[in-house]
């Protein structure tokens, strides 16, 4: 069961992962700021903004640990009343619920929604667990000025509540009342704001290894080893060799070309090497709506690399499954898409038995930048019914879509393997062609030359 469902912003098309899908009802697109309604399976647009969401201190999607629990920042509110303005981040952990991380003038505090009401002693004193809290100010209208991310209710920019706080040392109780709800939240100061910020710092992208190499670093291919420079005496020590014959040159050239190809293959395989592949299984049913699933998470360390996804279907016949893959960057929520299909058909005609397609499909993403990606797939299985079946028979057993027995849903089990890396053999072949082409040209010219009696 994955915790993210993939949707696209109906306003700008940006792809948004809903982190707390099902609890959350509002998502604000971080690309254009539009508010989306995610209570409906087909996501509706509430308000179009077309303005970039303001850059906040804590990036949405960042994870950090507070009070021994890991939290993900899923939403940010800018709020104000007539006296102050502050920022509230919504933190989420599916096993621990929600918390509010509040920043006001550089002071941080952590808020927990209460499931009990404090005891009212008088108009300006309430007690919670024996602690007395004193009213800070008469209730004022508090306004939400901007919304980014997602929330467990449909929050809107412009929403107002009546709110006040009661304080006791470093803790305070905030009381907020809207038309149909009243909520108490206990907030505790977090004295070390820098630690909070550091805890939720964006995961630093892996440092690219393409920077200037420092001494003591690994030797890089193509760089001269910083060994002692070759001395003149060493050069003088070379004895002139007998000029080799043309034939020797050709065999040397071909030898060098073959060696280069081998090296290329080794480099290709080395850079395409898989490190930590992820596997996941999924069952799809023919004729059912597309199923979306998160296949896993891959972390890519090189500045750019390939990602290979292999899909294997079990022993199905005369069906196909369309596979729409997306790599969603956790940090930016940008998606890279690719398409695959597993299909296998078999039958019999006048020529005998035939089969077509393959139950195994490999899809490659090229040049994926470094980062942590959630790998999503949307799979839709279809039954290929040959003409011997009538698909127009409707029966009382039809499951709502008017299809009859001919297309009773059948399951296909798929196994996905995601491997960072992948060798693009097509590119390899092209390189090899380029290496051998000059030799071929040279040989052709030599043949021409020998015909004319000219000799270099």
């Amino acid at each position: 069961m994955s915790a993210a469902r993939l949707i696209n912003c109906p306003s700008c098309g940006g792809s948004i992962a809903i982190k707390a899908a099902g609890y959350s009802t509002t998502v604000a697109c971080q690309y254009c700021g539009s508010e989306l309604d995610v209570t409906n399976p087909d996501v509706r647009l509430i308000t179009e903004y077309h303005q970039a969401a303001s850059a906040g201190d804590l990036p949405l999607g960042a994870r950090g640990t507070l009070v021994g629990t890991e939290w993900e920042v899923i939403g940010r509110l800018e709020r104000s009343d007539d006296g102050a303005s502050w920022t509230e981040y919504l933190l989420f952990n599916p096993y621990a619920g929600y918390r509010w991380l509040i920043e006001a003038d550089g002071e941080w505090s952590l808020g927990t929604a209460l499931n009990r009401n404090p005891v009212t002693e008088s108009d300006d004193v309430v007690t919670l667990d024996g602690t007395r809290f004193f009213l800070d100010y008469a209730p004022v209208t508090t306004r939400t000025n901007s919304v980014v991310g997602e929330f467990y209710w449909r929050v809107r920019a412009g929403d107002t509540v009546e709110a006040t706080t009661f304080s006791s040392g470093g803790s305070s109780l905030s009381w907020e009342r809207s038309a149909d709800e009243v909520n108490w939240t206990l907030t505790e100061q977090l004295p070390d704001g820098d630690a909070v910020r550091a805890s939720f710092a964006d995961p630093a992208p892996a440092s690219p290894s393409a920077g200037p190499a420092t001494g003591g670093g690994p030797r890089q291919f193509g760089r001269k080893a910083s060994a002692s420079p070759r001395t003149a005496s060493a050069a003088q020590g070379l004895t002139p060799v007998k000029r080799a014959s043309d034939g020797d040159d050709l065999s040397k050239m071909i030898g060098i070309a073959i060696a280069t190809c081998f090296l290329l293959l080794v480099i290709g395989i080395f850079f395409g090497m898989s490190r930590g592949s992820v596997s996941q299984s999924m069952t799809v049913y023919t004729g059912e709506p597309a199923r979306t699933m998160m296949l896993g998470t891959v972390t890519l360390k090189r500045p750019y690399q390939a990602v290979t996804i292999t899909a294997r279907g079990d022993q199905f016949v005369n069906k196909w499954v369309d596979l729409d893959y997306s790599l969603v960057d956790r940090r930016t929520q940008q998606a890279i898409d690719a398409y695959g299909i597993v299909e296998y058909y078999a039958g019999r005609d006048s020529d005998g038995n035939w089969t077509e397609g393959s139950r195994r499909e490999t899809t490659k993403f090229a040049s994926v930048p470094a980062g942590t990606y959630d790998v999503m797939v949307e799979a839709k299985a279809q039954n290929w019914s040959s003409s011997s079946y009538s698909s127009s028979t409707s029966s009382s057993w039809a499951s709502g879509d008017g299809s009859g027995w001919g297309s009773a849903p059948e399951s296909i089990n798929l196994r996905f393997t995601i491997t960072p890396g992948g060798v693009f053999f097509g590119n390899m072949a092209m390189f090899m062609l380029l290496i051998f082409a000059p030799i071929a040209v040279w040989m052709w010219r030599k043949a021409q030359a020998s015909k004319s009696g000219y000799r270099r």
Partner: protein
Amino acid sequence: MTALSCPACGAEVPLRSAAMPYAVCGYCHSVLLRQGEGLSDIGKSAVLPFDVSPIQLGTSGAVDGLTFEVVGRVRWGWQDGSWNEWLLSCGDGKARWLGEAMGQYMLLRERPDLDSHPLVDRFARGEAFRVGDRIDDYSVTDVKEARCLGGEGDLPFPTPPDWTMTSIDFRDTAGGALSVQRDAQGVMAYEGRYHSLAELNPRNLRSIEGWPMPANYR
């Protein structure tokens, strides 16, 4: 744990509790009414929207000496959000409900005796509750008009998609919870307590990708 075939799609419908007349096929969402040994299809239930609750059918737990297992769920949506009501089959042979909203949990049992309370009776006759209204030690914290979004598992009633209700939540100062719900059929009051997930000592929670299962829930 027995299983029957769904008459609509043929999928296996496991029956988690022998006491429940209804089940929802997890595959085609038909609501199945059990009759004798078989099941009959009485209409589609609303499809349950995707969600990421840590609770799932089969989750078990124990709170205040009472063991429970989750056997069904109804999901409700209101204008600006949604919540889950999980049906529990408990060790004392009684059914209870676990309301789940905003990451908080309400463990409730039916209190039909509260129907005679004057305020509940007024509510039953169409009067509205407002935030801050009181019943004894309880005060209203939440008033919602809700629509059934779907159901799953074994339920004591069908969950048609056009089912609507008014739901009123009350709190006291000690963690007590009271919930009064009014639909076309009438009013039912439920009473119990708020709990954190940890207090429910849950086992067999849903595993959610990207989030490690806390060690004490394994």
